[in-house]
Symmetry: C5
Subunit: 356 residues, 5 copies
C-alpha cells in the first residue's frame, strides 16, 4: 500500500489498530537468551513459544523482522504484555522518534538510513521495546542493522553478555545512530562537489542537485531532531529499566546524534548560502554578457545609421558629389567610434570581465 493510502486508512481508526504496508514480508522471529555463561539462539514460528523466555529472569532479545502477519504481531504483544499503543507505534511506521515510558516497559523508536533511502522520504524505522528481562525489536524489513550486535553477542567475553538488557538496548541504538555517519560523509562530499562547481560552471543541473540536497537535509532534519530529544530523555531518564551507569552510554549516543544534527544544520545553511552565491554569479555573468552587446550595439548602430544616410537615393545630396565626401564621413565615424570607446573605458566597462 502506498504511504498516502495508508495514511488515509488510519483516519477514524480505533487507537491501537495495526496497519501494515503490503510489501512487508511475513515476520521472522528470532530470539537470543543470554547471560555470561550461556547463549541460546533460535527462531520460532509461533510467538506463543516465546512465553517461557518472557518469564525467565535471564535477559532475552526477541528480534522481529517483517510485519506481514497482524495476528502474529498481536500475539507477540500479548505474550510480552506490550501496551496496545506501544505495539501500534512499533508496527505502524513511520512514527516520530521517541523514548516513551509505559508502566512496565520503555519504547524507543529510531529511524536509520539504509541503502533504500533516496527513493522515498522515509527512513526505515526500528522500535526497541525494553522491559526488565527482555528486549523486543521490531523492523518492517530485513535491514541487517543488528548483524554486528548479534556477532558481538556471540562473544562470551564481551561486555554485552555480562550486562543486562539496558546495555543491549544501548548497543542497538548505537548501531542505528552509527548508520548516519556514512550518509553524512556522502552529503558533505556532494555539497563540496556542488560548491566547487558553482564557481566553475553553474548549470540548471547544478541548481537541481543543490535543491535536491536542500530537500534531503530538510527531510533528515525533520526525522533526526526528535531522535536527539529521545536520546536526551534516555540519558537522563529516571527509570529502573535504565540503571545509572548505562545512562552514560546513552549520553554518548546522544552526543553522536547531536554531532549529526549539527552537521545537518550546517549542510542546510551552506546549501542556502550556495544558492545565494549562484544567484549573484548569474547576475554577474548577465552583466558581462549585456555589456558586450551594449558595447557593440552602441558603437555600430549609430554608425550604421550614418552610412544609411549616404546610401539614400535623393537626387540633390551635394555631399555625395564632393570629392572629399567619402573620406570625411569615414573619418567622422572613426572619431565617433573612438569617442565612444573612450566613454566606455571611463565608465569601466572595458576594464575586463570584472570591471565595474
Amino acid at each position: 500500500m502506498s504511504e498516502s493510502a495508508l495514511e488515509a486508512l488510519r483516519i477514524n481508526a480505533r487507537p491501537g489498530t495495526l496497519f501494515v504496508a503490503e510489501d512487508s514480508p511475513p515476520p521472522r522471529i528470532r530470539y537470543f537468551e543470554y547471560d555470561e555463561d550461556v547463549l541460546e539462539a533460535g527462531e520460532v514460528e509461533d510467538p506463543e513459544e516465546l512465553r517461557c523466555y518472557a518469564e525467565t529472569e535471564r535477559p532475552t532479545w526477541v528480534d522481529i523482522q517483517g510485519f506481514g502477519d497482524e495476528a502474529c504481531l498481536r500475539e507477540v504483544g500479548e505474550v510480552f504484555g506490550i501496551h496496545s499503543l506501544a505495539l501500534a507505534d512499533a508496527v505502524n511506521v513511520p512514527q516520530r522518534a521517541k523514548a516513551q515510558r509505559y508502566p512496565d516497559h520503555l519504547l524507543i523508536v529510531i529511524h536509520a538510513p539504509h541503502e533504500s533511502f533516496g527513493q522515498g522520504e522515509r527512513l526505515p524505522q526500528v522500535a526497541i521495546l525494553l522491559a526488565r528481562d527482555y528486549i523486543v525489536t521490531f523492523q518492517e524489513h530485513r535491514y541487517g542493522f543488528f548483524d554486528d550486535v548479534r556477532e558481538r553477542l556471540a562473544n562470551p567475553q564481551g561486555l554485552l553478555r555480562r550486562s543486562g538488557p539496558a546495555y543491549l538496548a544501548y548497543a542497538l541504538v548505537d548501531a542505528l545512530i552509527d548508520q548516519y555517519y556514512p550518509l553524512m560523509a556522502e552529503l558533505a562530499e556532494e555539497l563540496d562537489a556542488i560548491e566547487e562547481e558553482i564557481f566553475e560552471r553553474a548549470s540548471p543541473e547544478l541548481v537541481a542537485r543543490l535543491h535536491e540536497l536542500q530537500r534531503r537535509t530538510t527531510q533528515l532534519l525533520r526525522i533526526h531532531r526528535p531522535q536527539v530529544d529521545a536520546l536526551h530523555q534516555l540519558a537522563r531518564i529516571d527509570s529502573p529499566l535504565v540503571p545509572e551507569p548505562i545512562r552514560i552510554y546513552f549520553g554518548d549516543v546522544e552526543d553522536h546524534a547531536r554531532q549529526i544534527l549539527g552537521s545537518l544544520e550546517a549542510a542546510r545553511a551552506s546549501a542556502t548560502d550556495a544558492m545565494g552565491a549562484i544567484l549573484a554569479l548569474l547576475g554577474h555573468r548577465q552583466n558581462e554578457v549585456m555589456k558586450v552587446l551594449t558595447l557593440v550595439g552602441t558603437i555600430f548602430i549609430p554608425l550604421t545609421f550614418v552610412v544609411g544616410i549616404y546610401g539614400m537615393n535623393f537626387d540633390y545630396m551635394p555631399e555625395l558629389r564632393h570629392r572629399l565626401g567619402y573620406p570625411v564621413v569615414m573619418g567622422a565615424m572613426a572619431v565617433l567610434a573612438v569617442v565612444m570607446v573612450v566613454w566606455f573605458r571611463v565608465r569601466g566597462w572595458l576594464g575586463g570581465p570584472s570591471g565595474r
Copy 2:
C-alpha cells in the same frame, strides 16, 4: 456574517458574550449515556431535558452541532454548569487551540481540516468540554468528524464503553488530529509535483501554485502550533479529570501532532528553497537567451555596418570601382566573423547552454 464583520462586533463586548456566524444552523443536540452494559442514545430539542443526565454518575456525551440559537446554547451552559468564558470560547469560533482548566471542567479546543478548507483561512473548530461524568462537544456545523467514534461506542466490547469520559475525550481528540494525515499527504504530493515541474518548465502558474502552498502551510502552522502545546499540556496535566493511564494516550496524540508539525515545517522550508531554485533557474535561462542575442548581434551588427559603407552613394569611392573590391570586402567580413566566433568560444559562450 463575514469573519471581519464578526470581529468588528466583538470589540467592546462584555466578556462571555456569544457571537454566532449567520450561516450556522440551529443546534442539533444528541446525547449518549453509556457504561459497560447500557448505551442510551437520543436527541433533544430543549437542553433542559439533559439535566437528569448531567446529574447521574454514568458517563454522558452530549454532542451539539450548530450554533444558530444563542438562548439554547446558554441553557446548555446553565444545565452543565459551564464557566461563561468556556462557553464563549466554545462558541465564538475561531479560538486559539487550547487545553484550559476551569474549576470543574477542562475545555479542549482543536481545529481539524475539512473539505471546506481551502476556500477560507479558517479550519472548523471543535470544543470538547470534559467534566467528571460528562463530555459536551461543540461544532459549528455538522462536520461528521465523530461518526466513527459513535460507531465504536455502539460496540459493547469496545474499550470506549469500559472507560470513563477522559478516554472518550482522547478518542475524540485523536479522531480530530487524524484528519490532518490526508491533508499532509496532499500537501506533500503538491510539493513533489511542483518541485518536479520547476526543472521542467517554470511558469508564472507554477510560482502561483508554490506561493499558494507557502500561504497554506503558513496558515496551517499558525493553527497547528498551539494544538501541539495544548496536547503537550494534556499529556502532563495534573488533574483528576484525566487519570494517569489516560495521559499516555494523550501523549500518543501529542506525538502525532508533533509529527504533523514537523512535516508542515519541512514543507514550508522546502517551498522556500524551491522559490530560490526557481529564481536561480530563471537567472540561468535569462543568461542563455541573452547569450544568443549577444552572439548574433555582436557578429552581424558590425558586418551590417561594413556593407552599409559600400552601399553609400558617394561619387568618389575608388574601392567600388576596383575589380577585387567585392571579394576582398566579403573575405574581410568572413575573417571578422571567424575571429568573433573564436573569441566567443574562448569565453565559453559557445560551449552549449550550460557553458560558463
Copy 3:
C-alpha cells in the same frame, strides 16, 4: 515635542522624571466609586479631592486622560502612593508593555491601536495601576477605549459591579486587546488584495504596498510581543491583588493576545513569501520579453546583413547582373529564417509564454 526630541531629553535625566509630549491636553480626571449597590461618578480638577476615595475600601476607578500638567500628575501619584518608577512608566510614553509588581500595586502597560495609527510608529499607550481598593488608568489623549466599560459599569446587575478592582482591570485590558481584531482583519484584507494582484500585475506601487505591510507587521510585532509576555505573567501571577478566579480571565485575554501574535507572525511570513514570488514572476516576465527580442533580432539581423550585401555599389558584383540573383537570394533568406524558427522551436522558445 517630537519623539526623538523627547528621547534626547530623557538622557541623563533623574529616574522618575516625567516627560510629556507638547500636544497632550491637560488632564481630565474622572472617578467612579462603585459596589453592588452604589455607583458614584464625577470629575475633579484637583487630585487632592480624590484622597477620600483612595482611603475607602469600596473600589474606585480613577481615569486620567491627558498628561499636560506635570504637577497634577505628581499629585495623583502622591495621593495614591504610586511608586515614582510606576508613575514615570505610566506617563513617559512609550514604554514597553509590562506587568510590573511594586510593593503595594501592580502596573499594567498596554498599547492598543487607534485610528491615529498609521501616521506614526507609535500606538497609544494605556497604563493601568491596580491596587487593593482602587484602579488608576493613564491615557495620553482622550482615546475612548473605555467608553464601553463605563457603560457596563453603570449596569447594577453587571458582573463588574459585583467584582473587585482586579476584574475591572481585566475588563479594561480585554477592551484594549480587542482593539487589535479590526486591525488584524484590515491587515489580512490588505495582504489578500496584494497577493491577488501579484499574479495580475506587479507594479512598483504593489511592491511599495507590500513593503509598507512588512513595515507595519514588524512594528506591531515589536509592540505586541511584550504584551503577550505581560499577560502571561498576569495569568500566573501570585499576588493577592489578582485573586485566583480572576487569573482565568487574564488567561483568556492572554489567549487572544497569542492569537493576534500568531496572525501577525503569519502575515509577516506571507509578506516575505510574496516578495519572493514577485521576484520570481519578474524574472519570468523578463525572460519572456527577452525571448521576443532575441527571436526577432536573431532572425532579422542576419537577414538585414544579407540584403545589405546586395545593396553595395561595387561595379563588379556578377550576382547582381544575373536574372536569378534576386529570387535565389530571397529563397536563401527564407530557408535561413525557417531554419532559425525551427531551431527556436526545438529549444522550446516558441512553445508559448510559459515555454522553457
Copy 4:
C-alpha cells in the same frame, strides 16, 4: 595598539594579565565619599591614598578614567581587594557585557554608544565594581557618561545621597543605557530616509547606506543582547549587595534595554525587507526598460529588413520598376507595424509602465 594586534597578544597570556590600548590616557582617579550630610570629592594620584575610603562604612565612589598606567590599576585592585579576573575584565576592553558575582563584589560591564562610534566596531566599555561600601568605575577614556550623575550627587536632597552604593550603581547603569535612545532615534531616521528613497530613486549609494545600516544593527545587536541578559540577572539577583527595593530599579533599566533590543531587531528586519524591496523594484525597472527596447526592436528591425530588400541593386527586380511598388511596400510595412503594436497591446506591454 590596534584591536587585532591586542587580540594577538592576548593569546597564551596568563589569566589576569592587563592589556591596555596605546591611546588610553594615564588614569585620572576621582573619588566621592558621601552620605546624607556630607559629600567629600577629590582627585588622587596614588591609589594608596584611597585605602582609608575603602575601609570606612560611608559609601565611596571611585571613578577611574584612562588605563594608561598598569601599575596604578593593579594598585587600585590591591587597595579595593578586587579579584584578578574582575580587574582584567574591567581593563581588558572589550569584554562581553555581564553581571558577574565575585565572593566580595559584583562586576557590571556595560557598553554605551558615544560620538566615537561609527568609526569602529567597538562601543566604549564601562565597568562598575559594586562592593558593600564602595563603587569603582573603570572607563578607558574620558567619556563624560557620568557628568550628570555627579551633579545629582552634589544635591544633598537627592535620592542618591540617601541611598547606598547599589542605588548609585543603578543610576550609573541607567545613565549608560539612556545613551542608546538618541542612537536608536538616529537609526530610525536613517531607516525612514532610506525607505522613502527606495521608491524614489534606488542608487548604489542607497544600497551602500542600507548595507551600512544592516552592519551597524548587527554589531549593536551583538553588543546589546548580552546587556539585556546582564540586566535581567541584576533585576533578579539574590545578593546582599543589591537590596530588594533596588532590584525594581534594575528591572526598570532592563525594560529600557529590552525596548532598545526590540527596536534594534525591528530595524534589522526592516532593513532586510527593504533590500528585498529594492531587488523587486530593480527587477521591475529592468522589465520596463527591456520592454521599450524590445518594442522598438521588434517593430523596426523587420521593417528595416524589408526596406533593405528594396535597396538591393539586382538588375532584375520587377517590383522596383512598378509604379505602385513604392506605395504598396510602404502600406504593407504600415500594416505590419500596426499588427505588431496590436499584438503588444494584447500582451499588455503597452498598458503603461505598470503593465504586465
Copy 5:
C-alpha cells in the same frame, strides 16, 4: 585514512573501539608532577612508568601528543582508570565539544583553530581528562597549544603551582579558547575587505570569497556552539573535581567563548547581508547597462529604418527627386531624435547613472 573512510569504519564497531587516523604520529608522553615546591618533568615511552604518578596525591599532568599506537593509548587508559567511553571520545577525533562527567573523572573536549585550519573542515581536538590528582591531555598531533602553560608551570611563584589540577584544567582550556581570537580578527578583516570591495567592483572572485567566508563561519559555528554549552556546564558544575573558586575562572572562559560566538554569528549575518547587497548592486548595474543600449537602440533603429526607405531603388519615388527631399528628411529625423531624448529625460533615464 581519510575522514570519510574512518567514519565508514566506525559503523557497527563496538563502543569503546579506538580509531586512529593514519597520519597521526606515535604518542609522545610527557609528565609534569608539581606542587608549590617541586616540579618534576619527564618523558616516558611506556605508560606503565606513569603508574606511580597516578597514585601520589601530588598533582600530575600527563600530556599525550600523537595517537599512532593504540596499545599504548589503551595502557594509558588502564593506568589512569579511564572509562572506556572517555578514552574513545578522547582518541576518536572529531567528537562534539563536551564536558562529560564520569564516576571518577571529568572529560573536557575542546576544538581550537590551528594554522592547519583552512585546508579541511576539522579543527584540532584536544581532550582534557581531569581527575582528583592528575590531568591527562590528548592531542592527535604536536600542536603546541600548551607551550605557554608549560612555561608558566615552570615558574615556582605562579598561581598554577599553588593550585590544584582544576586550575590547571582551566589554564589549558583558556589557552585553547584564546586561539580563536586571531582567527576572529582574521575573519573580521576579510569581511571588512569584502564589504569595501563590494561597492568598488563586484567580481565572481568576490562572490567566491564571500561564500568561502560563509562556509567557514558556518563550520566554526557548528564546532563552537557545543563548546559554549560545555563551558557553561563547567562554570556551574556541582562536582568536587572543580572547587567553587575555580568555577568563576571557567565562567570567565565561558564569557570569552560567548563573545566569540556573538562575533561569529554577527559575521555570518553580515556575510548574508553582503550577498544581498551584491545582488542589489548587480541588478542596478544591469539596469544602467540596459538603459544605454535601449537609449541608443530606441533612437537609432527607427532612424535607420527611415534612411533605409530612401535607400530603396524604386523607380517612382517622387520625394527622391524633390530638391528639398534630403533636407526635409534629415530635419524630420532630427526632430524625432529630439522628441525621443526628451521622452527619455522625462522618464528619468538620462538623469545620470543613479537616475530612476
